[in-house]
Symmetry: C2
Subunit: 417 residues, 2 copies
C-alpha cells in the first residue's frame, strides 16, 4: 500500500478548538467553512465538520421515536488504556490509548457482553451529538436489504431491474441483487478520489443538493446518475468496492418497501433499539438519502446497532430483526472474489451484504467508513467497538495498521477476563 508522505498536524494540534471553526457572532472570515468552496471537507477543518454535517447540508431524520432511550449498562475497565499491541509492519509496541491519538479518534466505545467497558470522546464529539459515519452507512443499507430478504420481500437472486426498471440501460441491467449487495458488479466506474477525472466526482455533482450551475447538463440526483453507469467486465467475479452499489441497493430497498431509506431504518431498527438520538442522512436535491455514505449518528446508538448484530437481531430480549438477516451476513462472502479487489492489507477477508468480513477466528465483521469510522463486531470476544474519527487520510489503509491489531488486543484481553 502506497504511503501518504504528507506531514499532517497531529490529533492534538488539529483539534477544532485550536481554530474556532464557525465560532463567533458572526464567525470571522478565516473561521468560516463552506460546502460550496469545499473548505468544509479540508483537513483540519473536517475535524469540525464531521459533527456538523446538517449545519451545511439538507438532511432527513432517522427518527428514534418518542419513547425513553434504553440506557446501556456500564462496567468501565481502567485496564484497557494500557493494553499494548504491535502495529502492522512495526516492531514497536503501542498502547491502546496511544492508538486513539494516532488515529485522530473523535469517539470510542467498547461493549463487552453488552456492557460499556470503555468510552471516550475527543475533539468536537460528545455523547450528545452525532458524527458522520461516511461509508459505514453502506452496512446499514446492506443490513436493511438483508432484513427484506429474510422477510421474503426481496429476492437476492432476482435481477436488479425486477425492482428498479429504470436501470435497464445501465450496467445494472443484467446484475442480480446479490451481486449489488456483495459489490461484485462489474462497473466502468472509478472511485479514486485522488484522480480529478474519476467518475466519483460526477456522481458527487449529481448528488450535490445545491442548485446546479447554469451550464450543468449531467444527471440530477443519485438515482439519475446510476442510470448512466456502463458495464465493464463480468458481474459476479470480483469484489469491487464502489459506493454507487450502495445507492443502487438503497434504490432497490426503497422500491421494495415503499419507504425512503431513512424511514425504513427508523421503522426496522432505529426506533426499536432504545436509541438516544435521532440520526440523519444528507440528501440530494430530490430528497434522496445518500445510502452510500450520508448517515450521521451518535456513538452510543451505533454501539446499540452493533450489539443488535452481535446478538443476531435480538436486543434487550426482543427479536428486532430476523435472525436470518444476520446469519446471512455472518456466513460471509466469496474470499476469492475479495482477493481480486486490491486490498492487500486485508488478506483472507470477504464482503457480504455491505459488511467487511475479517473471516478471523472470532468471526469478526465490520462496517467501515473513510477517515476511520467503524462498527467492529467480534462475536467470539462478545465485543462491539465503535470508533468515530477524522483522520487526515481518507483511506482506511492509513489507520488499519494501528487499529485492527489494537481491536484484536482488546478482544483477546476481554476473552481472558
Amino acid at each position: 500500500m502506497a504511503q501518504d508522505q504528507t506531514t499532517y498536524l497531529s490529533a492534538k494540534e488539529s483539534e477544532p478548538s485550536n481554530f474556532n471553526w464557525m465560532e463567533g457572532f458572526p464567525p470571522s472570515e478565516e473561521r468560516r467553512l463552506s460546502v460550496a468552496d469545499g473548505s468544509f471537507f479540508d483537513f483540519p477543518a473536517i475535524r469540525w465538520s464531521v459533527v456538523h454535517m446538517r449545519e451545511m447540508l439538507p438532511t432527513v431524520p432517522v427518527s428514534r421515536g418518542l419513547a425513553a432511550p434504553q440506557d446501556l449498562p456500564y462496567e468501565l475497565d481502567q485496564q484497557i488504556d494500557s493494553l499494548t499491541f504491535t502495529p502492522w509492519e512495526s516492531n514497536e509496541p503501542m498502547t491502546w490509548e496511544a492508538s486513539l491519538w494516532e488515529n485522530y479518534t473523535d469517539g470510542m466505545i467498547i461493549l463487552h457482553k453488552g456492557k460499556v467497558v470503555y468510552e471516550r470522546y475527543f475533539s468536537e464529539l460528545t455523547p450528545d451529538n452525532v458524527h458522520a459515519v461516511m461509508s459505514l452507512t453502506k452496512s446499514f443499507t446492506g443490513t436493511l436489504a438483508s432484513v427484506l430478504v429474510a422477510e421474503g420481500k426481496l429476492d437476492p437472486e432476482a435481477l436488479v431491474t425486477k425492482y428498479v426498471p429504470e436501470l435497464k440501460n445501465s450496467a445494472y441491467a443484467d446484475a442480480t441483487v446479490r451481486q449489488v449487495m456483495d459489490m461484485t458488479t462489474a462497473l466502468a466506474y472509478s472511485e479514486d478520489y485522488a484522480d480529478p477525472n474519476a467518475d466519483v466526482w460526477q456522481f458527487s455533482a449529481a448528488g450535490n443538493p445545491l442548485p446546479k450551475p447554469k451550464d450543468y447538463e449531467g444527471p440530477v440526483g443519485y438515482y439519475e446518475y446510476l442510470e448512466t453507469i456502463k458495464k465493464e467486465g463480468t458481474h459476479g467475479e470480483a469484489f469491487g468496492y464502489k459506493t454507487v452499489n450502495a445507492d443502487a441497493l438503497g434504490w432497490i430497498i426503497s422500491k421494495v418497501s415503499g419507504k425512503s431509506v431513512n424511514e425504513l431504518l427508523s421503522d426496522k431498527i432505529w426506533s426499536k433499539i432504545g436509541a438516544e438520538q435521532d440520526a440523519y442522512y444528507q440528501v440530494d436535491a430530490l430528497g434522496t438519502p445518500f445510502a452510500g455514505g450520508g448517515l450521521s449518528a451518535g456513538v452510543r446508538d451505533l454501539a446499540r446497532f452493533g450489539e443488535l448484530l452481535r446478538n443476531q437481531g435480538n436486543f434487550n430480549g426482543e427479536q428486532i430483526i430476523p435472525r436470518a438477516a444476520v446469519t446471512d451476513i455472518q456466513q460471509g462472502g466469496s474470499k476469492a472474489a475479495f482477493a481480486k479487489s486490491g486490498h492487500p492489507d486485508l488478506k483472507g477477508w470477504s464482503y457480504r451484504n455491505m459488511w467487511w468480513m475479517t473471516e478471523n477466528a472470532d468471526g469478526a465483521f465490520a462496517a467501515r467508513g473513510v477517515h476511520g469510522q467503524t462498527v467492529y463486531v467480534d462475536p467470539g470476544a462478545e465485543m462491539v467497538i465503535v470508533r468515530m474519527a477524522s483522520h487526515p487520510v481518507a483511506a482506511n489503509a492509513a489507520n488499519d495498521a494501528t487499529s485492527l491489531p489494537a481491536y484484536q488486543a482488546v478482544a483477546d484481553y476481554l476473552k481472558s477476563k
Copy 2:
C-alpha cells in the same frame, strides 16, 4: 383589514396526500419542490414543506439532551369539538372542529391545568415530527432575553451597541435593548411581503444559505444585513412589527451568553422540560440561526414550553427559568405604542419581550407566526393552546377571526368545568 379575495383549495383539498409532494424514488417532475425556485413555499406545497424544512435547508439542532422525555398527562375531553363560538364580523356560529378545517390546522393540542384535554393532527403533521413555527420563533428569542435580564446578565436599558458594537452605524446605534425586545425601534425597513421591493427580500437574500449569485454585492448573513438598516423616526414611540428586531435580539443574547441561539435555547429550556424531540433552526451561510423565524419543533414540546410560561418558569415542580423572566413578559407592553401599529383587529393588545399580549381578563398572551402558528397561554383559564397550521394566507389577520374567539370559547368552557 383588507380581505384576500383569492379562492384557495380547502384544507381537505390541499392536503399533501393529494399531491404526493417529493414522493417516489425519485419523485416525478411535478412532485418536486425546491428552495432555489421557490416552489417549496408555494401554496399548497407549503402544507408539505412546513414539516420538512430540514430536508431543503441546512439546520442546527436544539438538543433535548439524552434523558427520557417526561410524558404529559392526558384527560381528553370529547366535548371540545362541539363547542361553538361566533367568528368576528359574523352572525353564524361555528363549531370548534369546523374552525380547525377553516384554518388549515396541521396540529392542535390543548392543555388544561397541565393535562392534555385535546390533541389532533392533520395533513402532514404527526406527534413524532416537527413543524415550522415561523415567527413564533421570536417569542423564544424574547423569552431567552428575558431570562438573561432576570439573571442580571443583560441590561434592557443599555444601548444595543453595548453588546453588539458592530451595529454602531445602523438604526440600532441609539436604540436600547428594551426597544428591540418590544419592537419599538424606528427602522427604515418594510416587511410587506406583497411588495417585491420591500426590504424583507434583501434580508432574505442575505440570510439565504445557498451560494450567492456571482453578481451579488449585498450583505452576507443575517448579522451583516442588520448593520445596513437605517433609522426612520424616533425609537420608543410606536410598536413596529419587524422581524429584523428578533434577529438583532438573537445577536445580542448570543454576544451576552457566548452561545448561539440554538445552544442557549437547549441549555436554558429545551433540555429541561422533558421534551420528546430535538427542535432545530434553519441557518444562514455562516451558521447563524434565524432567530426571527427559523425554528421547527414538535407540537407537544411547544405545549411543554407554553406550560412552562403558564407556570411562571416552573415545570414539573422545578423552577427552570427565573419567575421574574415570565412576570416581566406578563406585565405587558405599552398599549399606546401598540395602538399606533396598524393591527386594528387586535384592539387593546400590547407587545412585550416578543410576545403578543391580549390584555384580556384572563391575562392571555401568545406567540404568533405566519400561516397560523400559535402558542396561546391563558393563565386565567389555566390553559395552553398550541396550533400549527399551513393557511394559504401568511398574515394571521386571515385566521384570527375564526381562531381567537374559538380559543376564548374553550377557555370559558374549561373555566366552567
